[in-house]
Each structure stands twice: as structure tokens, then as C-alpha cells.
Symmetry: C2
Subunit: 225 residues, 2 copies
């Protein structure tokens, strides 16, 4: 007997998924406020699953719940970005070190190398969207292969928190040319099982790209993303 691919998702899960998607897609813009009744109308369901979704997303940091004013999509400030990148830098560097310590399979190393190749190609074609996707894939592999589920969930959360800012600055940031060198150096360090080296290189990389992003936000006065 074949069981259907996935258990039917509950309204709560649907509310969570849809509301979060609307926020990440900037369909609900930063600073926007909605009371529970409005959100549940938007999602076309009662207040209970809506409320559960709002509580979860608030805990994750994308919205805040203000008494009497419902939810508010949290604008990302320069200071927020600073905090988020400090943490992302720490977590991903940990992941890089773990990959080196635990060791990756040949297939896993290949996948990472392929991501770097894809980034190179996209960059030569001036396709920033494509580049960002390959870059994201590299970072996802790094964390996935570190073999720590909690770490994976954590990083995903902080990536989400900075998603809107990253999408926005993608258009105005300088070409990420030396980014690729960093990435292949990390892969090499992992392959050589040199965890300190892997950690250090990735740390420097994330620190630099984070600082670049923060400077962009500052320079362009983008304080309500």
C-alpha cells in the first residue's frame, strides 16, 4: 500500500508557511502592521491557526507582536544586520570546521566544488541571480554536511532574517569576484581535514561580506528593509 507523499498539512502549518512566504517575498513590507482579524481574513481561516502561525514567526524574529496593534513586519536595521551577521559568521565557521573535522565524502566535496564552478560561470555571464543561488547552495551544503541538524535549522533561520536585505543589496553590491577564491580555499581546507584553516577562511569570508552588506545599508540609508 502506497501512502500519499505527505500528510495533509494543518491550517496552522498552512498559515505559517503562507504568512512567512508573504513576508520573505516582501508582499507584506517592512513596518506593515496587521491585526489578527485582518491576517486571518488574508489567509482565509479563523483566528486560531492564524494566531499560532503569528506566534511562531514572531519567535523566529521576522515579525513582532505589539499589544493592540497586532503583528508588525520587523524592519531590518543596520544594527540588526550586524547582530545577524555576527551570528551567521560564527555558526557557518563552526560548520566549516566541523566538516573538516568529521570529513566529507568524495560526492559531498564534488557538490561543493560544483557550486563554486557554477558561481564562476554565473559571474562570467554577469548573472547575479544565478550567482546568488549557487552561493546560497554552497553555504547550504556547508551546513548540511556538518551533520548537525540543530545547526542547520539555526542557520536557516538567520538566513531568513536577512533575506530581504540580501535580495535588495544584491542589485547594488559590487561584483563578488574574490568570493569564489574564498570558497574554493574552504573546500580545499576541508578536504585536507584542516579544521582550523577551514574555520578561519570561512570566518574571514563571512566577516567581509557581512561588513560589505552593512556598509551598503549605511551608505544608501536603507534602514527599513
Amino acid at each position: 500500500m502506497m501512502r500519499s507523499a505527505k500528510a495533509k498539512e494543518s491550517l496552522s502549518d498552512k498559515a505559517y508557511r503562507e504568512l512567512k512566504a508573504k513576508i520573505l517575498d516582501n508582499e507584506l513590507h517592512a513596518g506593515q502592521q496587521m491585526i489578527e482579524a485582518e491576517v486571518s481574513q488574508l489567509l482565509n481561516m479563523s483566528r486560531t491557526p492564524t494566531r499560532e502561525a503569528m506566534l511562531k514567526i514572531a519567535n523566529e524574529g521576522l515579525i513582532e507582536l505589539k499589544p493592540r496593534h497586532g503583528m508588525r513586519v520587523k524592519p531590518i536595521s543596520v544594527m540588526d544586520m550586524q547582530e545577524i551577521y555576527e551570528i551567521l559568521t560564527g555558526l557557518e565557521s563552526t560548520a566549516a570546521a566541523l566538516c573538516a573535522t568529521k570529513g566529507l565524502t568524495a560526492e559531498q566535496l564534488d557538490l561543493m566544488r560544483q557550486s563554486v564552478v557554477d558561481m564562476d560561470k554565473a559571474l562570467n555571464r554577469d548573472d547575479l541571480i544565478e550567482w546568488a543561488q549557487a552561493d546560497e547552495r554552497f553555504h547550504r551544503y556547508l551546513v548540511e554536511f556538518s551533520n548537525n541538524d540543530r545547526l542547520q535549522i539555526l542557520v536557516a533561520n538567520f538566513i531568513e532574517q536577512s533575506h530581504r536585505a540580501r535580495m535588495l543589496t544584491l542589485k547594488i553590491r559590487p561584483k563578488p569576484t574574490n568570493s569564489n577564491k574564498d570558497h574554493s580555499d574552504v573546500v580545499k581546507a576541508i578536504e585536507e581535514r584542516n579544521s582550523e584553516q577551514a574555520r578561519a577562511i570561512h570566518h574571514k569570508h563571512r566577516e567581509q561580506s557581512g561588513q560589505m552588506m552593512i556598509n551598503l545599508l549605511k551608505d544608501y540609508g536603507l534602514n527599513h528593509i
Copy 2:
């Protein structure tokens, strides 16, 4: 006009606080299952605030919600501890580096040094409880002074996840004699604004104490804490 010290907490907040306390205090033991109705009876309130508390605590990782079986206090396995300590090591080392980079005030440095002194004293009196409290205080300061609210919340969450295991192994672990040297070295590195050094020392410290803890769990066959 003086307003009361804190806004009256909602039943949801009370449910969250009390339920979590019962879990951390081991009043609800690992593996224990309770359905929503039982939990709400225990907390003496309706299912709604109870349910919200359960959802939040489940998101934090202390319990899991199994369809039709209510909540279950998650036992901590050796693998869980491994994951948790890998993350804690990464996050706290990041905090140490941030403290050094940003620089601490004389008062903050004093507080950290005092914690080390208290650990020393407690250790000389063979008071492990007292030592653990001072140790916890040191770690809390480290994160607090790194001036990153999100980081603080994160670390607190992972400390909580490992709380029951730490309490249990406190009685059987070897005396933490060289722990104090590590701590004062970290403070010194921070004072000298040497972030790489601060990070490295604390990293080694956490890695060692984590490994010690994991070995204890393994040796004693403690797999359902």
C-alpha cells in the same frame, strides 16, 4: 505615579514559564508524555494558553508534540549533547571574540574576574553547586557583554537544552580544576583586545568540557536524561 514593576503576565506566559520550569527541574522526567488536557489540568487553566506554551517549548526543543499522544519531554541522547555542545562552543567562542573586538569596560572585566575568583573559592571548599553557579555566571557575562541580543537568546536556549544533563553529570564529573585557568586566560585575551586568542582559548575550553560531558554520558550509559 509609580507603575507596578512588571506588566501582569498573561496566562500564556505563566503556562510557558511554569511548564518549562517543571521540565528543567526534572519534575516532568525525560520521556514522560502528557496530553493537552492533562497539562492544562496540571497548570490549572484552559487548553488555549497551555497549547501556546507547549508549541513554544516544542519550538525551543525541550519537548516534542506527537500527534495523538500530546507532548513528550525529549530525552537527551549522546548525539543530542554532541550537537548542542558543537553549537554552544561555536556561539560562545564567537561571543568571546566579539568581547575582545568591541572591548569591555573596567567594570565588566571586573565582574568576569570576580566570577573566576568565586569559582576558585568554591572549588577550594569542594562546593560544586556554588562552583557551577559561578561558572554559569562567567559564561552568562561573556555572552551578555558581547552586546548581541540575538546571540544571548540563542545561547540561553542551548544552555537550557543541556541543563538536565549538566545537573546530572555535575555529581560525577572530575573536579574542574583547570577550567579556571582557561577562564582567566580568556579574560586576559579580552582585556588585551586579542579576539583571535580569546576565541581560540574559549573554543578549546568548551570543546574539552563538552567532550568530558559526552564521555560521562557514554560511560555511565546515561542515554535518557
